[in-house]
């Protein structure tokens, strides 16, 4: 139902609009930067989109192989994944995740990881359903006065 392909600069309006709709914060400049760095960038970086047969962007995923961040050996990091709410539960998110994992495997990494808001049950459930479990790190925060 969905075709997957690498993102292109022309996808910026659709990606920025989808993210703004889902997060309530418009950040076109951020997405422009992400497209510049991740779409057609180094082979360790990936920005994939899922599109409908009519060519509509149904969702996207961004990830990268990073080594020795926080002392951890090379792993594939998922930085962002979004799927149009009207097109959810049709496999777009899983297809994007699996495609990104395949890219990571091709690069020789055997772990995939991400960071999620623990109150965002939807995305947490999605990653759980993909077989992800708590990793070796704990994220810590502090308010700076």
């Amino acid at each position: 139902m969905f075709a997957l392909r690498p993102a292109e600069p022309a996808d910026l309006p659709a990606i920025a609009a989808l993210d703004a709709r889902l997060t309530g914060a418009a950040k076109a400049a951020y997405w422009q930067g992400m497209l510049e760095q991740y779409a057609g960038g180094p082979p360790s970086r990936h920005f994939l989109v899922a599109e409908t047969p009519r060519g509509q962007v149904a969702g996207f995923i961004v990830g990268e192989v990073r080594a020795w961040e926080f002392g951890q050996p090379p792993a594939g990091w998922v930085f962002a994944i979004q799927v149009d709410p009207k097109l959810r539960l049709k496999g777009a998110g899983s297809a994007l995740f699996n495609a990104l994992c395949s890219k990571f495997r091709e690069q020789g990494v055997r772990r995939v990881r991400t960071l999620v808001d623990r109150k965002d049950n939807l995305i947490l459930s999605f990653f759980r359903a993909q077989g992800m479990t708590a990793g070796p790190s704990l994220q810590l925060d502090k308010d700076l006065q």
Partner: protein
């Protein structure tokens, strides 16, 4: 995290019944499978039935079957039937002191992580993991 016996029995029973929603299992079947008290399990099943997760048949041969939604029901939905919510726990002696307050904040942090984990795992996801092993 330590779960009360009723919570653990509730999770066992729901997951076993949700494995095959067409299948009916008696209290004795379930108690034998998990080597637990049938009396205690019967009480737990009545709580699960009141929540609409299982339905019990009448008579000696009547058993229970799963009537919930495997994709929509999370482990936390079952835990919440038997355990007090983190914010509703009874006050502990010493809780009003500065040390008691600091300790409470650490315990709340742990509870919040545990709750987020339990809320993120649907019965469907849990059973897929269980049956994949």
């Amino acid at each position: 995290m330590k779960l009360q016996t009723a919570t653990r029995l509730g999770l066992y029973a729901v997951l076993e019944l949700a494995r095959d929603p067409e299948k009916t299992l008696s209290v004795a079947d379930l108690a034998e499978r998990f080597d637990v008290s049938g009396h205690h399990l019967a009480k737990v099943l009545r709580t699960l039935a009141a929540a609409g997760l299982v339905r019990g048949g009448r008579g000696a041969s009547g058993g229970y079957r799963f009537t919930g939604n495997r994709r929509r029901t999370t482990l936390m939905d079952i835990v919440a039937l038997f355990e007090p919510a983190p914010g509703q726990r009874a006050k502990e002696p010493g809780g009003d002191t500065d040390i008691g307050g600091s300790l409470q904040r650490v315990l709340t942090e742990i509870d919040e992580i545990a709750e987020a984990t339990l809320r993120s795992i649907s019965l469907e996801t849990m059973l897929r993991t269980t049956m994949g092993r």
